[in-house]
């Protein structure tokens, strides 16, 4: 069932020359990881493309009427509807092409949504669209909280993190629960293509985005994208922090074609040389949202985070036949 994909080869120079489909001038904060993700992913487009966006930071910063950053057709309807929107566009394109009312040979459909729009409120629509097998790429840009509304926790917020609805209080030290393994849940849909990506590994990210567009049927791309505003991190360090997430195995990089897991090189390196795996504190220390965890009384939380990261990493290695 696994089919080989993307023959796409390019040099860095060629990549920079691809016209921008997500133009600058938008209102994202300095150091915004999701804005980097969107720009890169749009450069991976292989031809005519239509995008849709869930409500959230990226929708809000890119389309303040009468301005727009989108040099392609783009639509927003609501917070929980990214996948449903894509389903409607894809269905319309198919039938209109059949009826001769659309001339384009192929139009790719890409849906963008944040962690709130994916792990939480939009999950039903996503699961339904994937089950129905619509041909679209769903990009989850994961900044690990509801940033647009002021940093509230989501199912994608990591254990121990401070958010405004999981404050670091006197009794409860940040978010009590671990992150929902959303990409694995998508793999369990037996869908053609699921991958994790990270703005720190841009080439890996854009190739995966291209694959997700090329695949026939639904594709899911879980993209790690720091938010300096919500993570209380330095605006100049977003890429560095993102890289640490993969180096600590907090956010490993992999692909799964029809359920067959395969590590991507940044994580494969660690699998082959386990001594390269960094402890989670080096990652956590870069962000104010974890600051309270370094108080002596919260030592246990730090240990829990490390052991959960280790447990999930081992599970992933098993799935990749590398344990």
């Amino acid at each position: 069932m696994v089919r080989s994909m993307s023959e796409w080869k390019f040099t860095s120079k060629e990549f920079t020359q691809i016209p921008e489909k997500f133009a600058s001038g938008h209102r994202a904060c300095a150091g915004c990881g999701p804005a980097v993700a969107l720009r890169l992913i749009m450069k991976a487009a292989r031809g005519p493309i239509i995008a849709t966006n869930a409500t959230g930071c990226m929708e809000v910063v890119s389309t303040i009427y009468p301005y727009t950053s989108w040099n392609i057709p783009w639509i927003h309807t609501a917070f929980e509807t990214a996948a449903a929107n894509a389903a409607g566009i894809e269905s319309a394109i198919k039938i209109l092409r059949k009826k001769g009312r659309i001339k384009d040979e192929h139009v790719d459909v890409v849906a963008f949504a944040g962690d709130g729009g994916t792990f939480d409120i939009g999950f039903q629509a996503l699961s339904g669209a994937v089950e129905r097998g619509h041909d679209f790429l769903y990009v989850l840009y994961d900044n690990e909280a509801y940033m647009n509304t002021g940093i509230q926790r989501s199912g994608g917020t990591p254990h121990g993190a401070w958010t405004t609805t999981s404050p670091a209080g006197k009794v409860i030290p940040g978010k009590a629960e671990h992150k929902k393994p959303i990409a694995d849940i998508m793999v369990a849909h037996e869908m053609p293509y699921v991958a994790t990506a990270n703005i720190a590994y841009w080439k890996d990210l854009v190739v995966k985005a291209r694959k997700g567009m090329e695949v026939n049927g639904p594709a899911f791309l879980h993209t790690f994208a720091p938010c300096p505003r919500g993570w209380r991190s330095e605006t100049g360090k977003s890429v560095e922090i993102a890289r640490l997430a993969t180096e600590t195995c907090v956010f490993p990089l992999w692909e799964a074609e029809y359920g067959e897991y395969k590590l991507s090189s940044p994580s494969k390196v660690i699998a082959l040389k386990p001594e390269k795996k960094k402890p989670v504190d080096v990652y956590l220390k870069t962000q104010g949202r974890f600051r309270h965890l370094f108080k002596p009384e919260n030592k246990q939380v730090l240990e829990d985070i490390q052991s959960e990261v280790d447990r999930r990493w081992q599970k992933l290695l098993k799935a990749c036949d590398m344990a």
């Binding site: 040099n71 639509i75 509807t81 409607g88 269905s91 629509a125 339904g128 129905r132």
Partner: protein, 409 residues
């Protein structure tokens, strides 16, 4: 347009709707089943499975998705239909406003059913009345024939470039949806010619270019952006403007359709029944009008000057037609199959009383809330309304302006 020959087919309301949709060459149908609308989705699935339609049928996982999917399919340039009822319509609520705000001319049949709780599958209008202000046109059918005719007209109205707004066609749950009736059916080709292919307007994009209003890779357009205090209000004003224009469009489409089919329903906005010389009148919506007409006939035989005004179009509200038809009447009863809890009467009553307020010779008005959760509305109850109207007409006195009809009290 000359009248065409038609076939008489026994159909229930749901099947009549499904057949009309089939004939309208719809591009995308995204729908979710709910009693008493289910037959529409089932029947349409059969058309798809048997290759009788050229339609992308998206059998979605919820009504919320049905509407989201419908909006973006419509924005891609497709003709779109969906259907729902009650809880399904309520679940769509958020997306209904997005549909009208995004100017997506979706046609939806709403098989009117009570809202939970307690859960009840039978007819009333509380589902659609709860969406009164959401920016959709609302047309209500009296019988299955009209449901069929209205669906066909609805595509032409919704997609008219002066309108471009989503349109609901209401039909009463079970009373119409599940009741067999002889329906005159137009030939496929006649319907196809009548509705034509979906057109989209030209709009200015962010670069100042004039482009078709749709998601088209050749002409990039941003639809559904963040729109704040500097422009949102103007966009809402435009929506209201289009609603006003819809009044004329509904009448025109209705008149054209009448030439083709030989059938008409008043002027398309309201239907007046024996109202000209009437002194007392009932105003109602939907299938109840059929029963009221029978009662009016009986009363007329007794020499009582009774009449009926049926509102076929509730949104946009045909204020002028309401005013001109009710001016000079002595007493008018407004029948509401929905309750506006804590309000001053039902939703239809609000509109009617408000519309006639400026008349120097405005009638005395009384409101009847009736038929909630499918409670039967037999002729004897309607007779009771007319008796009360006679008394009001004689005394000029309204004892109880808001009453509940046909329940234990």
């Amino acid at each position: 347009m000359a009248k065409v020959e038609q076939k008489t087919v026994p159909l229930n309301g749901d099947n009549a709707v499904a057949l009309a949709v089939k004939q309208c060459d719809v591009d995308v149908v995204a729908a979710y089943p709910i009693t008493p609308q289910t037959i529409i989705v089932e029947k349409f699935s059969e058309y798809v499975a048997d290759g009788e339609v050229d339609t992308a049928f998206v059998c979605v996982e919820s009504e919320h998705t049905a509407m989201a999917c419908s909006i973006t399919a419509s924005a891609t340039g497709a003709r779109v239909f969906t259907a729902t009822a009650s809880a399904g319509l309520a679940l769509m609520h958020e997306m209904l406003g997005v549909a009208s705000g995004c100017r997506a001319p979706i046609v939806m049949s709403v098989v009117n059913r009570a809202l939970s709780a307690p859960i009840n599958i039978h007819c009333d209008h509380s589902d659609a009345m709860s969406e009164r202000d959401i920016g959709w046109l609302q047309i209500y059918a009296e019988n299955s024939q009209e449901a069929y005719d209205s669906i066909i007209q609805a595509f032409k109205i919704a997609e008219n470039l002066d309108v471009i707004l989503p349109t609901m066609v209401g039909l009463d749950g079970f009373v119409l949806s599940h009741t067999l009736e002889n329906v005159e059916v137009l030939p496929d080709q006649a319907v196809k010619n009548f509705v034509g292919t979906r057109q989209v307007p030209q709009v200015m994009n962010h670069k100042g270019d004039i482009v078709p209003f749709k998601l088209d890779p050749a002409n990039p357009l941003t639809i559904g952006p963040l729109d704040l205090h500097d422009y949102y209000f103007e966009h809402k004003r435009q929506q209201e403007e289009s609603m006003r224009k819809a009044l004329e469009v509904i009448k025109k489409v209705h008149a054209d359709y009448a030439k083709l089919s030989g059938r008409s329903y008043g002027n398309g906005l309201v239907e007046a029944y024996k109202l000209d010389d009437a002194e007392i009148a009932v105003v109602c919506i939907g299938s109840t009008a059929g029963t009221v007409k029978t009662v009016v006939d009986e009363l007329r035989e007794k020499g009582i000057k009774a009449g009926l005004l049926r509102l076929r179009t509730f949104r946009p509200l045909p204020v002028e037609d309401i005013v001109s038809n009710l001016a000079g009447k002595k007493a008018v009863a407004v029948m509401d199959r929905a309750c506006s809890f804590g309000g001053n009467g039902g939703p239809l009553f609000h509109e009617i009383r408000h519309s006639v307020y400026d008349l120097a010779d405005r009638p005395q008005l009384v409101n009847y809330i009736y038929g909630l959760g499918g409670r039967d509305i037999p002729p004897k109850l309607i007779n009771r309304i007319y008796s009360t109207l006679q008394k009001i007409a004689q005394t000029g006195q309204v004892d109880k302006p808001i009453q509940f009809l046909g329940l234990r009290e």
